[in-house]
């Protein structure tokens, strides 16, 4: 399970990978330093053994269950969090080799748009100050006039007007704040943008404008994106590759056409099934999607971490595969006892961490 795993994505262009994440794990709260020394606390395994590569000029999307560790992974990539183990390499520089000052220098090239746009803007700074700060920090456009021109240009790109520059964050609507956060990230012309739910607060029209802007920047400047989103239609539209996260791990990753078009992991399959559903929810008949509730990252299930909710493990047990009885019903033994390795898909363009990824079951969705 800990064997270094390389995504067979673009084997020939490997040298042009600007972001390389290798077996990265991050645990929270393993020990707490209090006044009275170290105190043991439950460990949250937020990110566990994640690896992926992003070639220059491409877009990698991360999707997954809420609380599965996507934002933590984003913070690891930009160096806001240090990994418990593993290594992140950005443009051939290993982040672990950088000290705080080195990281600060690197941040001009790698910008992060945080998930909550309201909270990530200083309430006491106007939009203008917020954008100017980004330029000041990296000593860009030192000339007043040039600075103002750059800011005016960027604020227009995200669909805001100059009138918004004098406002404070609380005087903006949610979507306007989100666009300010995006403007702050692109104003200093980064090479890599990590966007955590960048368009969730935008109406579809403005959303389209922002996505078109990102695509345009990508085409002109060969920007690289890592996008976290819940919108699978958006993933299909803009991403080249995608990683599906469940309880801190990538359960399926690879080419976006493969993963979204023909998902092989049961979790990805259920995501796609719901996303495709457009009929109104029946008010009089409670419907469940996935059986059971999300396990706690404080106590990750044994074997395959998805086994507590996996419809396939259940179906296999019913179909006569060697099975055991658990609190969650009768499940395939392998699922409960052994952690699955990544199984490459037939074309080799994606992998799924499921013992039975290649088992085509007649009826998955029921």
């Amino acid at each position: 399970m800990n064997a270094p795993f390389r995504l067979p994505l673009t084997p020939d262009a490997a040298s042009d990978d600007v972001v390389i994440v290798q077996n990265v794990s991050r645990h929270f709260g393993s020990s707490r330093t209090g006044l009275f020394g170290r105190r043991a606390a439950p460990v949250v395994r937020a990110v566990e053994d994640v690896s992926f590569r992003v070639p220059r000029g491409s877009c990698f999307a991360i999707v997954g269950e809420s609380g599965s560790g996507k934002s933590s992974l984003a913070r690891l990539v930009v160096g806001l969090l240090r990994p418990t183990s593993g290594e992140v390499t950005i443009g051939s520089v290993a982040l672990s080799s950088l000290d705080d000052a080195g990281l600060r220098g690197m941040r001009r090239k790698v910008q992060l748009v945080l998930q909550d746009p309201r909270a990530s803007l200083d309430p006491r700074m106007t939009v203008l100050d917020t954008l100017a700060e980004a330029l000041t920090v990296h000593s860009l456009h030192r000339d007043r006039q040039a600075r103002r021109e750059r800011i005016d240009a960027v604020i227009g790109m995200v669909g805001l007007s100059q009138a918004h520059l004098t406002r404070y964050p609380h005087e903006l609507s949610g979507g306007q704040r989100q666009r300010v956060a995006i403007a702050r990230a692109i104003v200093c012309e980064p090479e890599i943008l990590v966007l955590d739910e960048p368009v969730s607060a935008l109406d579809v029209s403005v959303q389209a404008q922002i996505i078109n802007l990102l695509a345009d920047l990508q085409a002109r400047l060969a920007l690289t994106y890592i996008v976290i989103t819940h919108d699978l239609a958006l993933v299909a539209h803009m991403a080249d590759a995608v990683g599906v996260m469940y309880l801190g791990r990538f359960v399926e990753q690879g080419d976006v056409g493969d993963v979204c078009g023909a998902p092989r992991h049961p979790y990805t399959q259920s995501l796609m099934a719901i996303a495709a559903q457009v009929s109104p929810l029946d008010r009089d008949r409670p419907a469940t999607v996935l059986e059971g509730s999300i396990p706690s990252p404080l106590a990750i299930p044994s074997g395959c971490s998805f086994h507590t909710r996996c419809p396939r493990a259940r179906a296999l047990a019913a179909a006569g595969v060697e099975a055991v009885d658990t609190a969650d019903g009768r499940l395939a033994r392998l699922c409960v006892e052994a952690a699955p390795l990544p199984h490459p898909a037939p074309g080799g363009r994606s992998t799924a961490k499921c013992h039975f990824a290649d088992q085509s079951l007649p009826d998955q969705s029921s």
Partner: protein, 658 residues
């Protein structure tokens, strides 16, 4: 002050860069428009003047002792009487102003300059530095103030400068402690992480983000400590270690008068009065400055809504408007009925109207979804319906809101609280900022559960756990003890939903409640809400951008553009055959709505509307493909009318039918 006049003042909000007034004058003007600022500034200036020219003003020799005239009450010759050595108290107060100011301001400055950096350092570095500093401070605080001051003066020698240092040292622990506490809570805010992610250095983060955000608290603390510093100085004086005897200083004078407090109370009265007034003056001025530099309170402070306040009072006591009286009360009454609602923000430049005449009703057990342009006023509308529009910030310029058949606007504060608690649950748009970063999630949930109920602590805990389980947060027992920053974005959002549901509301106002949730959990939350709707008939007002979600979950939909509902009706009607060009454009913009991978998505061309500068006639006109400069569109704001079983505000709505 009519609405029309206010609106006339709106237009140019942007370019104030052309002729910049002198910042010092601007500041002065902004201090003086606040009553507290005007009073505080006047007193402080008087005080400063006194410190400079006080000695020249003194009518008598403040040092001449006259044993024939000791302890005289105030008279024409000695306005404030004489002291135990026969010196003129009035002259001594005038002369003492300078030393008093020096010790008070100097002492607070010393304490501030040492204590605040220590506190910030402790909060920033945590670890052993914090432990050591906080222990040292605890030790210092366990001694009486005077002991420390004495020690310092004893070591350094008694003169005015050392007295300043001594009284300053006494206040260091208070500053350090407060600075640490407020810094910790500011550091927990995500915007700090935001600027770190930007690449800002620690020094910059502290100077630009931490200090401004803690300055308000520290300023207030400084003015409070001003008086107490003078009192410690007088304690030193009393022990003969303060400013050296013949030189007067108010604190010392007050200290000296202690022995005569029963027989000659006026001796304490005047120095005490001057001391108290000077402390008050700094306090008022500090408060005024804080109001100016705190952007969240600034706009409100500029136009003190005295008149509005009175107006609101009379409005509350007036009989309910006709439209409202007609609304049927009783079991069939809609849970929410909004009529002709207009909302405007009070800004420095006048009223900025963001909601311009909205009518809507939601019946029990139904869900109304509001979709629309970002910045079109959805959240503002939702907050007003939830009786949470801050009257200092938002003016309700027209219209009515009724909740459960009762008018909800203009109620007295207690009634509003009661209404909110019993009937309304709200999920705000930015979940993370709706939670308090320094309280555990358990504490915040428990507060919501307890409000207005008499549950024992065990029952409250059980209910909290059940609520967290409802919104699908694993391991709720352990999660209760965690702080908001230890949760993921979607978890925070679910916690806010749990808090909103804690009181079993009749009406749930949900602003983008699932924007951070993946489809599986979103589905589970929707199923939960459906359950509650089915069991208790809860009405839901849902603001969202996700048309897919609207299609799956809502019964009715209202599309908002530039503060008005441009199209509303049942979802099947509106989403399947939109008639308003804006609704049609929304349908066409969604990713997956036809454009292939890698192709640009279709967004609505043209500038989004800017509130306060809307075009004449139909607000959508400049971007409308259907209008093509037809005169009808510019003539007037198109009224809402019924076309093909939905309300739509477009003159040419019928054209979409063919």
């Amino acid at each position: 002050m009519s609405l029309a006049q206010d609106m006339a003042a709106v237009p140019e909000r942007a370019e104030s860069t052309t002729a910049k007034p002198n910042p010092a004058w601007t500041l002065l003007r902004r201090i003086l428009v606040q009553p507290k600022g005007a009073v505080g500034l006047t007193l402080v200036v008087l005080y400063l003047v006194l410190a400079v020219i006080g000695p020249a003003l003194a009518p008598q020799d403040a040092f001449r002792q006259n044993f024939a005239q000791t302890l005289r009450p105030p008279s024409a010759a000695h306005w404030f009487g004489t002291d135990q050595l026969g010196r003129d108290v009035f002259s001594r107060i005038l002369i003492g102003a300078r030393a008093t100011l020096g010790i008070g301001v100097g002492g607070v400055t010393v304490a501030f300059l040492i204590g605040v950096p220590l506190g910030i350092l402790a909060a920033w570095r945590r670890g052993w530095i914090e432990a050591v500093l906080m222990r040292a401070i605890d030790v210092m605080l366990s001694f009486p103030d005077i002991v420390f001051a004495l020690a310092v003066v004893a070591i350094l020698g008694a003169n005015t400068q050392n007295v300043i240092i001594a009284v300053g040292v006494v206040s260091i622990p208070v500053f350090a402690r407060t600075a640490r506490a407020v810094t910790l809570s500011v550091l927990a805010e995500p915007y700090i992480e935001g600027s770190v992610a930007l690449g800002a250095s620690p020094a910059r983060v502290i100077m630009r983000h931490v200090l401004p955000n803690i300055s308000g608290t520290l300023l207030t603390l400084s003015t409070l400590l001003f008086a107490s510093t003078l009192l410690s100085a007088s304690g030193l004086g009393f022990l003969g270690l303060g400013t050296q005897p013949p030189f007067p200083e108010w604190g010392t004078m007050l200290g000296d008068s202690r022995s005569y407090i029963r027989s000659h109370p006026y001796l304490a009265t005047f120095p005490g009065l001057f001391l108290a007034v000077s402390a008050l003056a700094f306090n008022l001025l500090g408060d005024a400055l804080r109001t100016i530099y705190d952007p969240t309170s600034r706009r409100a402070a500029r136009r003190l809504p005295m008149l509005n306040f009175l107006r609101r009072r009379t409005a509350a006591s007036a009989p309910p408007a006709a439209g409202l009286a007609a609304a049927p009360a009783g079991p069939d009454a809609p849970v929410v009925a909004v009529e002709g609602l207009h909302l405007a923000f009070r800004t420095g430049e006048g009223l900025l109207e963001v909601v311009r005449g909205v009518d809507l009703t939601i019946c029990a057990g139904r869900t109304l979804a509001i979709v629309g342009e970002s910045g079109s006023g959805k959240s503002t509308l939702l907050r007003a319906i939830g009786t949470l529009a801050n009257p200092q910030e938002v003016a309700i310029t027209a219209g009515t809101v009724a909740i459960g058949g009762e008018p909800a606007l203009g109620l007295p504060a207690a009634a509003v609280r009661d209404l909110r608690r019993r009937k309304i649950g709200i999920v705000f748009q930015d979940a993370a900022s709706a939670l308090n970063p320094v309280l555990t999630v358990g504490a915040q949930l428990a507060e919501a559960v307890r409000a207005g109920s008499r549950l024992g602590p065990q029952a409250v805990r059980q209910r909290c756990i059940a609520l967290l389980r409802d919104v699908n947060i694993a391991d709720p027992e352990r999660r209760l003890e965690m702080y908001p920053h230890q949760f993921s974005g979607g978890m925070k959002q679910r916690i806010v939903i749990a808090i909103a549901l804690a009181q079993n509301p009749e009406l749930l106002l949900a602003d983008e409640p699932t924007s951070a949730l993946d489809v599986t959990i979103q589905q589970q939350i929707l199923v939960l809400l459906r359950e509650i709707q089915r069991k208790r008939g809860m009405a839901i007002l849902l603001v969202t951008h996700d048309l897919n979600l609207v299609a799956r979950f809502a019964d009715d939909v209202a599309v908002m553009y530039a503060g008005r509902l441009v199209e509303s009706g049942a979802i099947a009607t509106v989403l399947e055959q939109p008639l308003h060009p804006y609704t049609q454009a929304l349908r066409a913009s969604a990713p997956g709505a036809g454009e292939g991978r890698g192709q640009p998505l279709r967004s609505i061309p043209g500038e989004p509307p800017l509130v306060g500068q809307l075009p004449s006639g139909c607000a959508f006109r400049p971007r409308c493909p259907r209008s093509a400069n037809r005169a009808e569109c510019a003539a007037q704001e198109p009224p809402e009318r019924m076309v093909a079983s939905r309300q739509v505000a477009c003159v040419f709505a019928e054209e979409a039918l063919s």
